[in-house]
């Protein structure tokens, strides 16, 4: 390193500023940004902090309330596609009426309970809104034609998350094999407890009718 380099800049013309720095300066000088970043002239610090806190509560609470409102069976079956096809089929299965009176609604099986995964699933589900608007399964026939595709994407989802939604209620930890009939206990011992298979591998179509199962492993 030479002395000319170390002192350079003071003698010669001002060095050209970096691209990022120039972009930032331009951005910083926009009138709206300048106003936003200037200290408040008339509002007190207390108003701004408490107001910000309150608005945070309102917006965050509102967002989650709206999210929960869309996370109910009533919301799902407000579309005729869900009400007349899958919801109709759910009724009469063990997950709808049973001896102990516990009912699993749509989101219990189709939406993860954990917040992050729930948001991810909700974003994916926006495609269902698209399908409703453009009527991709508007009739029973259209639904039946799509059924294999729809079922396959649900199977793939549950296979990928190790049947997470099943396990919200049916955990291996609390499963008493001695209370199951021997055939079920044997199958669970061989396939479930060894992690060789996950719930959805065997328990397909337990809440809805099945599509054409030709080619699906375990079916013929």
């Amino acid at each position: 390193m030479s002395t000319a380099d170390a002192t350079g800049g003071t003698a010669g013309p001002a060095p050209r500023q970096g691209r990022i720095r120039r972009a930032w300066r331009w951005f910083r000088n926009r009138p709206l940004i300048r106003t936003a970043l200037a200290p408040a002239g008339t509002l007190s610090l207390a108003f701004l902090t408490l107001g910000g806190f309150l608005m945070g509560v309102v917006f965050w609470g509102g967002f989650n309330t709206a999210l929960e409102a869309t996370n109910t069976t009533a919301f799902c079956v407000s579309c005729h596609e869900m009400r007349t096809n899958v919801y109709e089929e759910l009724q009469g299965t063990i997950h709808f009426t049973n001896r102990s009176g516990v009912r699993a609604g749509c989101p219990d099986c189709h939406v993860p309970h954990e917040w992050t995964r729930k948001i991810a699933r909700k974003m994916q589900a926006s495609k269902e809104v698209w399908g409703h608007i453009f009527g991709s399964i508007a009739t029973r026939d259209a639904f039946l034609d799509m059924r294999r595709h729809l079922a396959e994407s649900e199977w793939a989802r549950m296979k990928a998350n190790d049947s997470l939604e099943c396990r919200n209620c049916h955990s291996t930890v609390s499963m008493d094999l001695s209370r199951q009939n021997p055939r079920a206990a044997n199958a669970h011992e061989r396939f479930l407890f060894t992690n060789e298979r996950t719930c959805i591998d065997c328990h397909k179509g337990i809440a809805h009718r099945l599509p054409d199962m030709s080619g699906v492993p375990g079916w013929q």
Binding site: N181, I206, R209, L210, D212, Q220
Partner: protein, 115 residues
């Protein structure tokens, strides 16, 4: 409704060509145009892992007697012949006699030889 018998114990046939009855619950098992849940255990290729009895060889034959490579379509509706059992009391008296009682009455408990 009566509870289904689910003990998985094979039941003796009342006559040799009686379709075996089903000793387990079949509630919720699909049996329609799209899917046949029975075959997920009783098809030849699944019997090793399920340890269930294989469908009879007669079920491979079509009505002309040709042996097919799998379940013959006319045998597809399992529940047309094979039925689950319950503990229900018969509504009318059942006077069915086992064929052994007719062919070998002397060997039956309470038969002629015991009188």
């Amino acid at each position: 409704m009566q509870r289904a018998i689910t003990n998985d114990v094979r039941v003796r046939r009342n006559y040799p060509d009686q379709p075996p009855v089903i000793p387990h619950a079949i509630e919720g098992y699909a049996l329609d145009l799209n899917a046949n849940k029975c075959m997920s255990c009783h098809a030849r290729r699944f019997t090793e892992q399920s340890q269930a009895p294989m469908i009879s060889v007669t079920h491979y034959q079509d009505r002309e007697g040709n042996t097919l490579g799998g379940l013959a379509p006319r045998r597809y509706a399992c529940l047309a012949c094979h039925v689950p059992q319950t503990e229900a009391r018969p509504l009318v008296e059942n006077r069915f006699q086992d064929m052994d009682a007719l062919t070998e009455p002397e060997r039956q408990p309470g038969g002629r030889s015991n009188r």
